[in-house]
Symmetry: D2
Subunit: 121 residues, 4 copies
Amino acid sequence: MDLDDLARRLHEFTSSRDWHQFHTPKNLVMALAGEAGELTALFQWLTPDESAKIMDNPETADQVRHEVADTLAYLLRLADVLNIDILAALAEKIDVNERRYPVDLARGTALKYDKLGSKHS
Amino acid sequence: MDLDDLARRLHEFTSSRDWHQFHTPKNLVMALAGEAGELTALFQWLTPDESAKIMDNPETADQVRHEVADTLAYLLRLADVLNIDILAALAEKIDVNERRYPVDLARGTALKYDKLGSKHS
Amino acid sequence: MDLDDLARRLHEFTSSRDWHQFHTPKNLVMALAGEAGELTALFQWLTPDESAKIMDNPETADQVRHEVADTLAYLLRLADVLNIDILAALAEKIDVNERRYPVDLARGTALKYDKLGSKHS
Amino acid sequence: MDLDDLARRLHEFTSSRDWHQFHTPKNLVMALAGEAGELTALFQWLTPDESAKIMDNPETADQVRHEVADTLAYLLRLADVLNIDILAALAEKIDVNERRYPVDLARGTALKYDKLGSKHS
């Protein structure tokens, strides 16, 4: 199944349970933020090194996979109700970021694009 | 471009800027939560009806599309560094939810699965 | 007990369990975001009217009170490790907002301050 | 000014701008999550050590202070509209946590209370 198939499956899941009444864009954004919060909670006390090994523990790995899946589910539902082509939106955003973060200026720095190259200004 | 192509493009974008040092799972989860927070901020004062019309204003529509794209970008990066097959994870989660939320019990209610059908218990 | 007393109690709670190693500013910000996410999850499917009555259900009311308390706890810990006088910071921010949102321009609108009064510009 | 004074000042700020219509519990929870997201964004690429020095840069320090203040502001507004005594709620929650995390079991570990002392089980 590709992304479109899964988005359709989520749409049908929602329809068959009469849940469209709950899936306003506002509510879906909250659900997305709630899932991102659950992911955050799984990582909050880990050192960067520990966070890189989080999938080594099968129980935690399962939680992470579920939260990642839930986050994607609500993001696809949100894109659906807002009529956003999410793959096209991402492709465009990568184009924008390639212009905002030229390789030679952005290499090795986490500065935001509006601070890049400020040594020259 | 499908989801895998975009995930690969994001991987190369990261490599060519030497940004893998910043893309620990912990940091990517924070970035994801930050983007979800920005989406939340766009919807926070809207009524449900207003939220359904958010794409009618071209300027706001553009912001929403960008935040949705950024959220997907960090989710794909996270799945990449954790070696999660995100489409398979979502397909499995939908299977789980189909069992947790049987159509006849879940129809028209926003109750969590562990509260469903409690009238029978 | 006032806010300072509670901040001190939280500090001692942390010290006596040797938890300062976990309470980096970065980790506390994540914990705060995680609690905000849990609050969000409690409200995500409610209509505005239902959200106004959330404290009528004793079980849910208890959850909300706990999440509100947890959010304040992590905010106080964060202010502690960053050496921020949180009451002074808030007083200053209200001053800023009183200048940014003059009563006559801001009345009845949820526009951000940089969009206020744009009809005159 | 103590916390109650600031909560009252925020209430009056809201009244005088006729903003109570926007301050439903649902919307305030979203605003709180949005501010937590902005704080998260300030810390997302920092190492733990860098996060401990974030207040050394005056510009960033100012942003952090403002976000901490905004988070407290929305938390106080939320407690106000839900009629929660936030200081009492926090005092109770610390009591709960002192029982959940006994010093001898919780020392030096970030395990959740339901996993504590599982070596004995």
